[in-house]
C-alpha cells in the first residue's frame, strides 16, 4: 500500500476537520440570508457531527458511533424532505427566499 500523504492521519485530523465544517455551517447559518443556503449549512453541521461520530467509533473501537450515524442520516433525509418542500412553497409564493423577510410570527 503506497502512501499518499507524508504523515499518517490521526484522529485529531478528522476531529479538526469536523470542527471546521461545523463552524463553517454555524457561521453560514448566522450570516447568510438565503433560505436554501442556510438549509445547506444545517446539512453541513449535521455531517460534521456525523464525521465526529465515525471518528470516535473507530478510535474507541465501538460500533455504536457508526450506528448513530445511520440514525442521523435518516433524520437528515426526513428533514430534507420536509425542509425542501417548505422552501419550494416559499419560492412559489414570493420572488426571493430571504429569511429576514419571512417574519410573520414576530411578537
Amino acid at each position: 500500500m503506497t502512501r499518499l500523504l507524508a504523515v499518517e492521519p490521526t484522529a485529531n485530523y478528522y476531529l479538526v476537520l469536523a470542527a471546521a465544517l461545523f463552524t463553517i455551517g454555524a457561521v453560514g447559518l448566522l450570516v447568510r440570508r438565503n433560505v436554501l443556503v442556510m438549509f445547506m449549512c444545517v446539512e453541513l453541521m449535521l455531517n460534521a457531527a456525523n464525521l465526529t461520530f465515525v471518528t470516535f467509533a473507530r478510535e474507541l473501537d465501538d460500533i455504536g458511533g457508526q450506528a448513530i450515524v445511520f440514525f442521523t442520516l435518516v433524520v437528515a433525509a426526513a428533514e430534507v424532505a420536509v425542509g425542501l418542500a417548505i422552501i419550494v412553497a416559499i419560492f412559489r409564493r414570493r420572488r426571493g427566499a430571504t429569511a429576514d423577510d419571512i417574519r410573520l410570527l414576530r411578537g
Binding site: M38, I102, R106, G107
Partner: protein, 676 residues
C-alpha cells in the same frame, strides 16, 4: 303497647302541625275560610292529645329512665360526622310540648275568629301551624342540629308572621328587623355547635351530658356564652331585645304565640337543655343571671310609660324572660321552667285579651283612647284582670308562685343583688300592668269619636311616631294610622264566643297554674318531674320555712305597693288623652323611658355614623383599593413583563439561530469551568 313503643311515635307531635302546614300551603285557597282555620286548630289539638299521651307514657317509666330517644332516620351520614333526625322524650321536652301544643291550640282557636275576613286567611294558618311544628322540633330534638333546625324554622315563621300584613311598610320593616336580629344570635349558636363538635366529636345531647363536665374551663365558658348569645337573640334579652317590641306589627294571635308558647321560650329551653356546659362554668352562669336581671329591670322600666297596649305587653315579656334567665343563672332550672309555663298561661291571656280589645276598638291600640271597657267586655276584662294579678305576683295566682320561687332561689343562692333587682322589678311589673288595666278597662270612656281632635293634638308627642336617626325606617306600631285617634262611633261590645272561650280557659290556667309546683314539700310536682333532667345540679334550699315566708311577704308587699300606686294615679282614667300623670310628674325619666333608653336610636346612630364610615372605608379603601388593587397590580405586572419579553420573539430565524449558538456556547463554557 309498651310505653317505650308509644314514645317511639313522638315524631307525631311535630308531624301533625307540619302536615297541616303543608296541606294548607298547597290547598289553602281551595279549602277556604273557616275550614282552613279549623283544620289547623284540629292539627294542634291532635298534637296536644299526642303530647298528653307521651306525657303519660313517660310518667310510667321509672324516674331515672325517663330519657327516650328515637331516631327517625340518619339525616347527615358523612364519615365521622353523623347526625340523626332524632327526637328525645324527657321530662324537659315533654313539659315544653305540653304547653306549646296546649296554649298553641287555644291561640289557633282564637285566630279562627280574629282573622275572620282576612284575604290571606288560609296562608295565616299554614304559617301558624309551621311555627308550632318548628317549635316542637326545636324542643324535641335529640341533638343540637335538630334543635337548630327548629330554631331556624321558628325564626323564619316569625319573620313571615310578623310581616304578615306586609302591605304596611312598618310591618315589613319589623319582620326584617326580627329576622336580622335573630341572625346575630344564630351566629352564636352555630359557633357553639362548631366548638362542641370540635371538642366532643358529636352534637348528641347524651354525649354532651357525659362530656361537658370534663371540658377545660375556658372551652366550657366559650361554648356556654356562645349558646347564650343564641338564647339572647331568640329570647329578646338586652341588647338583642330590639326586635320584640316591633314584632307587635304582626296580627295579635301571632304576638300571643311568639310571646307565650313559641319562639321566645326557645332561649330558655336552650340554656336549660345545654345546662351541663353552663354548670361547668361559673362565669357563664354569672353572665346569664346578670343579663337576665338587668333585662328584667330595664324592660319593666320602659313598660311604665308605653301608651300602646301591645308594646306594654311586649316589654313585659322581655322583662319576664329576664326573670327566667335570672333563675337559670343561679342554677334554679326548675323554677325557670315553672315560670315559663305560668308565663305562657297569663301572657297568652293578656295578649289575646288585648287582641279582643283592639278588635272591638276599631283596631286602635293606643290606651289613651280606651278606658271603661269593663262594662262592654265583661268576660275579656275579667280574664285580663286575672292575668294581671298573676303577672303582678298576687297570691294565689300562678305568677306569684313561679316568680316567688325564682326570687327565693336567688336569695338563698346568696345572690342578694339579683334578688333586690328582681324584687324592685316585681313592683314595677305590678305598677305598669295596673296602669294598663286601669287605662283600658276602668276610668272614663275615651274611645268615642268626639275626643278625636284631642287625640290628634296629643299625637306629636307620641313616642312611636318619632323619627329614628339615620336611614332605618321608624317602627310605627299603629296599624293603618299613626297615633290612633279615638274613632269609635258606637259602643264596643264583647268579642265573639270563639275568641272569648280561649281567653277564659287561659285565664283559668293562669289563675291555678301555680298548683303545678307549690313551694311545699311533696307539692313541687313540676320541679320533681324535671329533676332527672337536671341531675347533678346543686339544689338550692331555703334556710328555713320562716325565711322563705318572710321573702314571699316582702315580694307580695312590693307587688301590692306597685298596684296601689297604679290605682292611685289611674283610678279615674285620663282627663285628656295627653294627660298621663306619670310623665307629668317625672318628665326627665319618662322621656328616657319613652325612647326605650335610646337603644334603638343609639343603634341607628351608630350604624348611620361610624358604622357607615367603617363600611365606606371597607368598600372603598379596603376592597376597591386594597383587594382590587392587589389583583389589578398582578395583572399589570404580567402585562408589562409580557410586553417587554415579546420583543425577543423577533420572527427573524437568524436571531433564533444566534440564540441557540450563544446558549450552546454558554453551556459549554459552564461545563468547562465546572470540569476544570
Amino acid at each position: 303497647m309498651d310505653s317505650r313503643d308509644l314514645l317511639d311515635l313522638i315524631w307525631v307531635v311535630p308531624g301533625l302541625p307540619l302536615l297541616g302546614a303543608v296541606v294548607l300551603l298547597f290547598f289553602g285557597k281551595r279549602i277556604g275560610e273557616p275550614a282552613a282555620g279549623w283544620i289547623a286548630t284540629l292539627m294542634m289539638t291532635l298534637s296536644f292529645a299526642a303530647s298528653v299521651v307521651a306525657f303519660l307514657a313517660l310518667r310510667d317509666l321509672p324516674a331515672d329512665e325517663r330519657f327516650h330517644g328515637y331516631d327517625l332516620f340518619t339525616w347527615i351520614p358523612s364519615g365521622g360526622f353523623q347526625v340523626e333526625m332524632g327526637f328525645l322524650a324527657d321530662p324537659l321536652s315533654i313539659t315544653f310540648i305540653l304547653f306549646v301544643t296546649g296554649v298553641g291550640a287555644l291561640i289557633h282557636l282564637y285566630s279562627v275568629g280574629y282573622m275572620h275576613g282576612d284575604p290571606r286567611y288560609a296562608r295565616f294558618f299554614a304559617y301558624l301551624n309551621l311555627f308550632a311544628a318548628s317549635m316542637l322540633v326545636l324542643v324535641l330534638g335529640r341533638n343540637f342540629l335538630v334543635t337548630f333546625l327548629g330554631w331556624e324554622g321558628v325564626g323564619l315563621c316569625s319573620y313571615l308572621l310578623i310581616s304578615f300584613w306586609f302591605e304596611r311598610n312598618s310591618a315589613a320593616v319589623a319582620g326584617k328587623k326580627a329576622f336580622v336580629t335573630n341572625r346575630v344570635g344564630d351566629f352564636g349558636f352555630m359557633l357553639a355547635m362548631f366548638l362542641i363538635f370540635a371538642r366532643l366529636g358529636s352534637l348528641d345531647y347524651g354525649v354532651m351530658n357525659e362530656g361537658a363536665a370534663d371540658l377545660a374551663q375556658g372551652t366550657a365558658t366559650g361554648i356556654a356564652l356562645l349558646l347564650f348569645l343564641g338564647a339572647v337573640g331568640k329570647s329578646a334579652q338586652f341588647p338583642l331585645h330590639v326586635w320584640l317590641p316591633d314584632a307587635m306589627e304582626g296580627p295579635t294571635p301571632v304576638s300571643a304565640l311568639i310571646h307565650a308558647a313559641t319562639m321566645v321560650t326557645a332561649g330558655i329551653f336552650l340554656v336549660a337543655r345545654a345546662h351541663p356546659f353552663f354548670e361547668a362554668s361559673d362565669s357563664a352562669l354569672t353572665v346569664v343571671a346578670w343579663v337576665g336581671a338587668g333585662t328584667a329591670f330595664f324592660a319593666a322600666s320602659i313598660a311604665l310609660v308605653q301608651v300602646d297596649v301591645k308594646r306594654v305587653l311586649a316589654f313585659s315579656t322581655i322583662s319576664q324572660l329576664g326573670y327566667m334567665f335570672l333563675a337559670l343563672g343561679v342554677g334554679a332550672y326548675g323554677a325557670a321552667i315553672f315560670h315559663v309555663v305560668t308565663h305562657a298561661f297569663f301572657k297568652a291571656t293578656l295578649f289575646l285579651g288585648a287582641g279582643s280589645v283592639i278588635h272591638e276598638n276599631a283596631d286602635g291600640q293606643d290606651m289613651r283612647t280606651m278606658g271603661g271597657l269593663r262594662k262592654f267586655m265583661p268576660y275579656t276584662s275579667i280574664a285580663f284582670i286575672v292575668a294581671w294579678l298573676a303577672i303582678a305576683g298576687v297570691p294565689p295566682f300562678s305568677g306569684f308562685w313561679s316568680k316567688d320561687e325564682i326570687l327565693a332561689k336567688a336569695f338563698f343562692a346568696d345572690d342578694y343583688g339579683l334578688w333586690a333587682i328582681g324584687t324592685v322589678t316585681a313592683a314595677l311589673t305590678a305598677f305598669y300592668m295596673g296602669r294598663t288595666v286601669y287605662l283600658v278597662f276602668f276610668g272614663n270612656e275615651r274611645f268615642r269619636a268626639a275626643t278625636a281632635d284631642v287625640a290628634e293634638e296629643a299625637a306629636p308627642e307620641a313616642p312611636h311616631v318619632r323619627d329614628h336617626a339615620g336611614s332605618l325606617e321608624s317602627p310605627i306600631v299603629m296599624p293603618y294610622e299613626e297615633p290612633a285617634p279615638a274613632r269609635l262611633d258606637h259602643d264596643p261590645h264583647e268579642a265573639p264566643p270563639i275568641m272569648v272561650a280561649p281567653v277564659v280557659i287561659l285565664a283559668v290556667l293562669g289563675a291555678v297554674g301555680g298548683l303545678l309546683s307549690l313551694p311545699f314539700t311533696s307539692l313541687e310536682f313540676l320541679v320533681h318531674w324535671l329533676e332527672p333532667v337536671f341531675e347533678g345540679v346543686e339544689e338550692i334550699h331555703a334556710d328555713s320555712f320562716q325565711s322563705a315566708f318572710v321573702l314571699s311577704t316582702v315580694s307580695v308587699v312590693f307587688a301590692v305597693v306597685g298596684i296601689g300606686v297604679a290605682v292611685l294615679l289611674y283610678r279615674r282614667g285620663l282627663t285628656a288623652p295627653d294627660a298621663d300623670p306619670l310623665p307629668k310628674r317625672l318628665p326627665g325619666v319618662s322621656r328616657v323611658l319613652e325612647h326605650d333608653w335610646y337603644v334603638d336610636e343609639g343603634v341607628s346612630a351608630a350604624v348611620a355614623g361610624p358604622g357607615r364610615k367603617g363600611a365606606d372605608w371597607l368598600s372603598d379603601g379596603f376592597d376597591r383599593q386594597g383587594v382590587d388593587g392587589l389583583v389589578n397590580g398582578v395583572a399589570t405586572l404580567v402585562r408589562q413583563a409580557g410586553g417587554g419579553l415579546r420583543r425577543v420573539q423577533s420572527g427573524l430565524v437568524r436571531n433564533y439561530a444566534l440564540g441557540v449558538v450563544v446558549g450552546t456556547a454558554a453551556l459549554l463554557l459552564y461545563l468547562l469551568i465546572r470540569a476544570g
